[in-house]
């Protein structure tokens, strides 16, 4: 599973130019998101305030990506869109990942009825395509940013549960776990100290890949009008809103679409690189 030490993994990672490209893209996007206030040409355009004299302008020197239907600079909004997407992905995963991991540990290690209940529950969640479940939840709740994150979080944890469960099931038969049990280590100790570290490469790799996929999911929800609400800049709703003006104002949806692509691509390449480097099963 995690036969490779981290230094070997790093050497391997470094030798793959595609992984490095992923890392660069990720760092680039994060940097844009972090320093959005400084970088963006029109930071005031993040909100509802636009410039009604400069509506739907094609890309130009003043507005590299053009302006939107109320005259806001699209580049500015895309950069803030990065910030929002990343923030949402981090929040969603920082809840669903630990929950999923702990439940997976419990199910895999304790077995018995705990395993049965948790894994059947996981099956139920995994039996509905994630986007559909998230949409359905959004269908019942008011469309707000918080609810969108909640919906995605609710459907995301089972993936970690299943992943960790599978790792635990194979690790539990490994010698070191048996050894720890023989010397009378407590269950929490075995779970968290012995097994958990061995799940880390798989979980971390999945986490990296998932940042991309959460961005994808959230933007899909927004595309359908079920996620982030205006005037908050969100890449998915920018694509949806812009699509109405195709093909005349093509920049309105093409640039945000490319932005989603770049963001997801970055995390995917990085995640792939990590997977190969750690030889992790995801």
């Amino acid at each position: 599973m995690s036969a490779k030490s981290s230094s070997v993994a790093w050497t391997e990672f470094r030798s793959n130019p595609i992984s490095i490209l992923g890392l660069i893209l990720v760092v680039f996007c994060i940097a844009l998101a972090l320093f959005a206030d400084v970088i963006t040409p029109y930071p005031e355009h993040v909100g509802p305030i636009g410039d009604f004299t400069a509506i739907n302008q094609a890309p130009s020197a003043a507005h590299w990506f053009g302006t939107d239907t109320i005259g806001r600079d699209l580049l500015t909004r895309i950069i803030y869109g990065f910030r929002l997407s990343l923030l949402m992905a981090v929040l969603v995963l920082s809840i669903s990942m630990p929950v999923g991991v702990i439940l997976g540990l419990l199910a895999g290690y304790l077995g018995g009825w705990v395993e049965f209940v948790l894994m059947r529950l996981t099956d139920i969640f995994l039996a509905i395509p994630p986007l559909v479940l998230a949409m359905a939840i959004m269908g019942f709740l008011p469309a707000t940013l918080t609810n969108a994150m909640l919906a995605v979080t609710v459907m995301w944890w089972p993936w970690y549960t299943r992943l960790v469960y599978n790792v635990v099931r194979s690790e539990a038969r490994e010698g070191y776990v048996l050894a720890a049990e023989v010397i009378g280590a407590s269950s929490p100790h075995v779970m968290f100290r012995e097994i958990l570290p061995n799940c880390a490469p798989a979980v971390l790799t999945k986490l990296t890949l998932d940042i991309g996929f959460v961005v994808l999911m959230v933007s899909s929800l927004s595309f359908l009008g079920l996620g982030v609400q205006p005037p908050t800049p969100d890449l998915g709703s920018m694509v949806a809103d812009g699509a109405k003006y195709m093909p005349d104002a093509w920049w309105l949806s093409i640039f945000p679409a490319l932005a989603i692509m770049v963001l997801v691509l970055g995390f995917n390449l990085l995640g792939d690189g990590l997977r190969e480097a750690f030889d992790a099963e995801v």
Binding site: P48, G50, F52, T69, I70, A243, K244, Y245, M246, P247
Partner: protein, 537 residues
């Protein structure tokens, strides 16, 4: 695997080769007409509520009366004439009026249709609720309504009573709660038409389209010889799709809800011309008079003064001489009694806004203002954002929410859950101001999206009741002018602008009712009579 791949490729390439010549639509009809609407089409006239339903209703069915062309009031339609004797209205059905099924239109059909409308309790039933004491057939072609009390808007309201073929309906009724009438053919009439209108349904799918063909037994107002011989009314097309289809000549008339940029781009292509359908619809930014701080009239007046009317109109402009809205100077759109066209149009006055705000008992900082806009109409987002930008200048904390229509209808039932401000288009459903303002401002009506201001003002209620019982047209007009003045003072809404529907029409299609002077039916949707449309290519 190898063979499978090859087969797949073969199949794909063959399909492409063979499909290419089929790309051009195979037109079975000589004069097809294809148009679309944003909403879902409901073809049951007893359930229809919005613009698309009205268009379907006037083409598939006939009502006893119809709005006058190019003027206020009503004209004969299915009824050839009528008499009013106190509270009794007696209608004579047009000679030879026949349903598409071949059945003759009789007084019993009118009675069935009215009872059906009231029993189902949806759609236009509220126009008649509690107003009709009895309805009876004087003879086969004469029907009499007796009212409970004087009700001036009654005649105009009848434009919304579509007459259903009762024999056909009863043959097709299902099990239901209405005794001998079963389900009042509720299920069946949502999938097929049974009327005497110029067209009848050939196929209907509420999510996709309604296909209509001429009614062979139609004998109503003359049909243009070039009228379409097949009409496809399509639902929920994206603006970009409509634009592209029209560019390819695969679509004829766009919906009313295209953003101005799209209309403009289509017109610029040279294959499409624009036509406007003004009148009858006000765009109201309803202010919640029950929730602080807007329960104080000064706070409301601050908003109406601060509203940027000029930019609004600028955002609605399609071309130099056409826009999706015109200025409005009160609660009533022009063309209705009581709309006074002489008054100046409102304009933004930040000075006055600040004064009013100072007079308001609340500090705006303590009360964040939430503004909702209807998710289904994207162009409204701009106006919501414009408000956010303007009101923020007054020192208010403004939040904007995109809310789906269904959710709005739910929120507005309780003043506490309703937003502070929401832009809603309200149309007069009949050629009478009562059908517009009564439901909006009477304190006696249940809370609905039309009454999202929750106004409770005795003076307003007084005018509204007087307008209903007064039958002299001139006195009535004065009542509505007084009402209008009172509503300006109370500011239960920002009267943002009067909505003008702008259609993109493919060159080769002529819609005289919209394009020729004096041919417009001033009630929203009533001009879209397919029988009057000419397909010239």
């Amino acid at each position: 695997m190898k063979t499978m791949t090859r087969l797949g490729l073969l199949a794909c390439s063959t399909a492409m080769l063979l499909a290419a010549p089929l790309a051009a639509p195979l037109l079975a009809q000589e004069r097809p007409l294809r148009l679309d609407e944003a909403a879902v089409g409901e073809i049951d006239p007893a359930k229809g509520a919005d613009y698309a339903d009205t268009v379907l209703g006037v083409n598939l069915y006939e009502a006893l009366v119809y709005p006058k062309q190019g003027a206020a009031g009503v004209q004969p339609w299915l009824a050839s004439d009528w008499t009013i004797d106190g509270l009794t209205y007696t209608f004579t059905i047009r000679d030879g009026a026949t349903f598409a099924s071949g059945n003759r239109v009789t007084a019993d059909d009118v009675i069935y249709s009215f009872n059906r409308l009231m029993a189902l309790g949806q759609g236009p039933s509220s126009l008649f609720e509690g107003r009709v004491d009895s309805i009876e057939a004087v003879d086969d072609s004469t029907v009499a309504f007796t009212l409970t009390e004087a009700f001036a808007p009654f005649l105009a309201a009848l434009v919304q009573l579509s007459v259903v073929d009762s024999k056909l309906a009863m043959e097709n009724q299902g099990e239901g709660e209405f005794g001998e009438f079963g389900d009042y053919a509720s299920a069946w009439l949502s999938s097929a038409s049974a009327g005497s209108g110029a067209y009848m349904t050939q196929a209907h799918d509420p999510q996709v389209e309604t296909v209509m063909v001429p009614n062979p037994n139609y004998n109503g107002a003359a049909m243009d010889p070039l009228a379409p011989d097949e009409v496809t009314y399509r639902y929920s097309l994206e603006a970009s799709t409509v634009r592209a289809l029209m560019g390819r000549g695969e679509h004829d008339i766009s919906s009313l809800w295209l953003p101005p940029e799209v209309l403009k781009a289509m017109a610029a292509d040279g294959t499409v011309h624009l036509a406007a359908e003004p009148g009858g619809t006000g765009e109201y930014i309803m202010l919640n008079t029950q929730r602080p701080p807007l329960d104080d009239v000064h706070c409301r007046l601050a908003l109406t003064s601060a509203y940027d009317y000029a930019t609004t109109l600028q955002l609605l402009a399609v071309t130099d001489d056409m826009a999706q809205g015109i200025p409005m100077n009160g609660a009533l759109p022009k063309g209705l009694y009581g709309a006074d066209l002489d008054r100046p149009m409102p304009s933004q006055d930040m000075e006055k806004a600040r004064e009013e705000l100072a007079a308001c008992q609340y500090d705006p900082k303590d009360y964040p203002l939430d503004i909702a806009w209807i998710a289904e109409v994207p162009a409204r987002e701009r106006l919501a954002l414009l408000m956010q930008a303007t009101f923020t200048q007054l020192g208010m904390d403004v939040k904007v929410t995109r809310t789906p229509w269904a959710l709005i209808t739910q929120q507005v039932t309780e003043p506490d859950t309703a937003p502070h401000a929401i832009e809603i288009a309200v149309s007069a459903r009949t050629p009478d101001p009562d059908s517009l303002v009564y439901n909006m401002y009477s304190s006696t009506v249940p809370h609905t999206w039309m009454s999202a201001s929750y106004l409770a003002d005795d003076e307003v209620d007084g005018y509204l009741e007087a307008g209903r019982t007064e039958t002299d047209p001139e006195t009535r007009a004065q009542i509505y002018r007084d009402l209008n003045a009172r509503l300006r003072d109370l500011a239960p809404a920002i009267y943002a602008y009067e909505f003008t529907g702008v259609y993109g029409i493919r060159n080769g299609i002529e819609v005289p009712n919209l394009e020729e002077e004096g041919k417009l039916y001033p009630t929203s949707g009533f001009s879209m009579l397919f029988k009057d449309i000419r397909v010239t290519d």
